[in-house]
């Protein structure tokens, strides 16, 4: 880690102001990616602006079917929220399989989504549940939020404050985790609300998380795992690395999608 300055923000406005005054500042949420990255000297922020002590960014509110999750809420708190489990258990289940328990106690939904790792789990939920991403400046629709690998619509210094969505009728997330890191090698979140179906894929796409229109159309016509049998997943869109080539990932996407539909019931 290179030398850096530390600032603790007590409010969202203060955090934004601190960032404005910093040279090459970085917001610190759970730190589960940032601190490891700094240790490897892949990031060298001049200033760390700590968002961990902003109370208004934490917690889950469920009003009927409307859910709001503060960006500073830990994966563990999302996984173990009874109120959320009652309306959208798929999101709790997703959170309960991120990394390992240590990471889930520190890592936050806002940090994960802002970082937009192409193999992170949460981005698929944000897209499939059609979440609204609320920042300190505006509201961003899920479809406009993810731009590419590690790239989002967030502007310089913009802070995610919360996520809100209306609970789906049915939803499930299934992933094939890398056995060491537990990052998704392919993760598929399916959600059905009325006649609308959304299918979001993480871990597999060469340009980060994406919706699969073919699978959405097939599941709109018939909500069943078999409905996906004839849908093709383009291997040309998939990433390839030492853990699996693009054909393998394309196949995994379909398998995970079928399992997700089966799990959603």
């Amino acid at each position: 880690m290179y030398e850096t300055n530390y600032h603790r923000a007590s409010s969202v406005d203060e955090a934004a102001q601190l960032m404005g005054n910093a040279g090459e500042g970085k917001y610190l949420a759970g730190g589960m990616t940032l601190i490891a990255t700094m240790k490897q000297r892949l990031a060298a922020p001049s200033d760390l602006i700590d968002l961990r002590h902003i109370g208004s960014m934490k917690g889950i509110t469920v009003n009927g079917r409307n859910v709001t999750i503060g960006a500073g809420t830990s994966h563990y708190d999302v996984a173990s929220s009874d109120a959320l489990k009652a309306v959208c258990p798929a999101l709790c289940s997703l959170a309960s399989h991120i990394g390992d328990p240590h990471v889930r106690h520190m890592g936050t939904i806002g940090g994960s989504v802002a970082n937009d790792d192409p193999a992170a789990d949460y981005p698929s939920a944000v897209l499939a549940l059609n979440m609204t991403v609320k920042t300190n400046k505006r509201e961003i629709a899920a479809d406009d939020f993810f731009v590419g690998m590690f790239e989002t619509a967030l502007e310089e210094g913009e802070i995610i404050v919360s996520f809100s969505f209306e609970a789906p009728d049915k939803a499930a997330y299934q992933k094939f985790p890398n056995p060491a890191s537990r990052y998704a090698m392919a993760g598929v979140f399916v959600a059905k609300k009325g006649s609308d179906v959304r299918v979001a894929v993480t871990g597999a796409g060469s340009n980060g998380v994406f919706r699969h229109q073919g699978m959405e159309a097939a599941l709109k016509a018939a909500w069943a795992p078999d409905a996906l049998a004839a849908v093709s997943v383009d291997a040309g869109m998939m990433m390839a690395d030492i853990h699996g080539n693009s054909d393998y990932r394309a196949n995994l996407v379909k398998v995970m999608a079928k399992r997700a539909v089966a799990a959603a019931g």
Partner: protein, 165 residues
């Protein structure tokens, strides 16, 4: 720039001056507070050897900057035993051979204490293994570790039943 924080470490109030915000909780414990029971394995959040409890929840102390933890309550392996009486999880690890070289053991034990208090795994071996997945053991004493965690879970439940009876 210097930073002043206060922590409760194993029940003791500690006031710490940090001349650099990059100090991790792990390095603070080992190098400044002389609590070397917490081990440095990978130093990047993969192995779990540095597991401690922060406000009752297990975290990787190597990925936590000490300066962010002002006011927190920290429990390390040194804070578990009551004098010469071992914590039930420590006793169970010895009884079930839950280690070989012992390097990962403080982290394994702290993680097990956290897991048991979270209360999600119970006595189901598969859930215990999943719940302990953040702690690697290169000697592969996993069988003994799982048995120890289940045994300690059972004993601690019995003790709390007796206390509440």
């Amino acid at each position: 720039m210097s930073y002043s924080i206060s922590l409760t470490v194993n029940g003791d109030q500690r006031r710490v001056e940090l001349d650099d915000p990059r100090v991790t909780l792990l390095d603070l414990l080992r190098e400044r507070l002389d609590l070397t029971g917490t081990k440095k394995g990978c130093d990047r959040g993969q192995c779990g050897a540095c597991t401690v409890l922060v406000d009752g929840r297990r975290v990787n102390s190597c990925l936590s900057l000490a300066v962010t933890l002002d006011g927190a309550d920290i429990t390390t392996i040194e804070g578990l035993a009551d004098g010469d009486t071992l914590h039930p999880v420590q006793a169970a690890f010895i009884e079930h051979d839950g280690f070989q070289c012992g390097y990962c053991t403080p982290g394994q034990i702290m993680s097990a204490v956290g897991l048991i208090s979270e209360g999600h795994a119970g006595e189901d071996p598969e859930r215990v293994r999943e719940g302990m997945s953040g702690n690697l053991c290169r000697c592969a004493a996993y069988h003994g570790i799982t048995e120890a965690v289940i045994d300690a879970t059972r004993r601690m439940a019995e003790t709390s039943e007796r206390k509440s009876a």
